[in-house]
């Protein structure tokens, strides 16, 4: 933590997106689990994730960033899955 004397004048933050140093994933009580074989790559999980915690590579969902996922479960609820089998399910943390 910086003291006030070390802050930039006007409290300007010069490093964009520096909040990534704060791992908000520690708040999580439920953990999303991705089941790849049920995934249709609709990317709704990526779009609706409030915490930018869905990892995407070349336009495909590849997993979760558990450093930042707060476990809200929006992705699991919105996941259409394959033949009503969800590709994202929520599990209690620590199980």
């Amino acid at each position: 933590m910086k003291s006030w004397k070390e802050l930039e004048p006007g409290c300007v933050i010069l490093e964009p997106g520096s909040s990534e140093k704060f791992k908000a994933g520690g708040w999580r009580a439920f953990r999303p689990q991705w089941i790849e074989e049920h995934c249709i790559q609709c990317l709704f999980c990526w779009l609706y994730c409030p915490d930018m915690a869905v990892l995407v590579q070349d336009g495909k969902m590849v997993g979760f960033d558990y450093d930042f996922c707060k476990g809200c479960g929006v992705c699991a609820l919105e996941c259409p899955g394959k033949k009503v089998q969800k590709a994202i399910v929520m599990q209690p943390e620590g199980k």
């Binding site: 997106g17 909040s19 609706y48 995407v56 809200c72 609820l77």
Partner: protein, 319 residues
């Protein structure tokens, strides 16, 4: 060329609102911000008034924003942004700055409907080239769920507590989108994150139009709405399907509905999953439910009529 509005293509873009922000789990506001920033193609400067989004995205030396962003006071986000926009124009005139930069605010309903209304109205009247986005969660959620003028009739908040004395908020919600349309702005729209394509199209359209623009976007809040952690998108979808939150735009005074639900659901479907309306389903409060439904019906009817009239005018002009 603009990125096509396809999730596969959009997901290759950098999201300019970073993770590690301290908004609650399942909050609607970061979803709204993410969608808006994904839709905008140009460099963008943003201002937020005090509110959930501001306090949680900028703590101490941490910021979640990857764009130039400024926190103003509660009441003057629009005034601050209009100042920035004017400075940009002045610098461009002198040849000290190049490029097409867009100006956007992200403010909550408290900072828009109530406290920031004078500066918003002023900035819009002066005609600054900016887009004012209000993420409407329907109360002062940041300070502990106090009623605002965006809170719907009958909602239980800490300053309109439902109990023996009053059945929640006694006054209906202020229709700010309509008030902004009455300012005669070139573009006013209402959107919901559940209909992301509609939302992004509206943002893109607003970016193309020069002058003051206003967008009101629904943003569910599971803490304040007393709903489940995971239903932000589901509730915003129900709000649209019940016509509690109709999706429309007003371009140069002409109303156009951008989404008509195939089957208009009763408003109770939107109210039922929310604990803030729990008391309305108890015996004795049927009147309030009826009043809420009546208000939604009247507003929907008015929009249908106005959009039909705008369509007629358009056809006459083309004839």
């Amino acid at each position: 060329m603009a990125t096509p509005l396809k999730l596969k293509e959009l997901s290759k873009k950098e999201v300019l609102f970073n993770h590690g922000h301290r908004l609650c789990a399942g909050c609607g506001a970061p979803i709204v911000v993410k969608m808006v920033l994904l839709a905008i193609e140009q460099p963008v400067v943003a201002v937020s008034s005090t509110g959930c989004l501001e306090v949680s995205s900028c703590i101490s030396t941490f910021t979640s924003w990857k764009i130039p962003w400024m926190h103003s006071a509660f009441e003057n986000a629009a005034a601050t942004l209009s100042g920035l926009e004017t400075a940009y124009r002045a610098l461009r005139k002198r040849g000290q700055l190049e490029g097409d930069i867009k100006f956007v605010t992200f403010c909550g309903d408290g900072g828009t409907y109530d406290i920031g209304f004078q500066s918003l109205s002023g900035a819009m009247e002066r005609g600054h080239d900016m887009l004012y986005i209000c993420y409407d969660n329907g109360a002062y959620m940041n300070t502990g769920i106090q009623r605002s003028s965006a809170t719907p009739l009958g909602a239980n908040t800490t300053t309109s507590p439902a109990g023996k004395v009053i059945p929640g908020k006694l006054q209906p919600r202020k229709d700010l989108t309509r008030i902004m349309a009455a300012h005669g702005l070139p573009y006013v729209a209402q959107a919901s994150p559940s209909h992301w394509m509609d939302l992004m199209k509206k943002v893109r359209k607003a970016m193309e139009i020069k002058g003051p623009k206003f967008m009101n976007i629904l943003s569910p809040c599971n803490r304040g709405w007393r709903s489940r952690l995971d239903d932000a998108i589901m509730l915003s979808r129900l709000a649209v399907q019940t016509c509690y939150w109709p999706l429309y735009e007003v371009e140069d005074g002409k109303v156009r509905l951008t989404f008509k639900p195939k089957e208009k659901k009763p408003v109770t479907e939107f109210l039922k999953p929310q604990g803030r309306f729990k008391h309305l389903f108890a015996p004795g409060n049927e009147g309030l439910l009826e009043a809420l439904q009546r208000r939604v019906d009247e507003e929907w009817q008015r929009l249908l009529e106005e959009s039909a009239r705008a369509q007629e005018v358009k056809e006459e002009e083309h004839a």
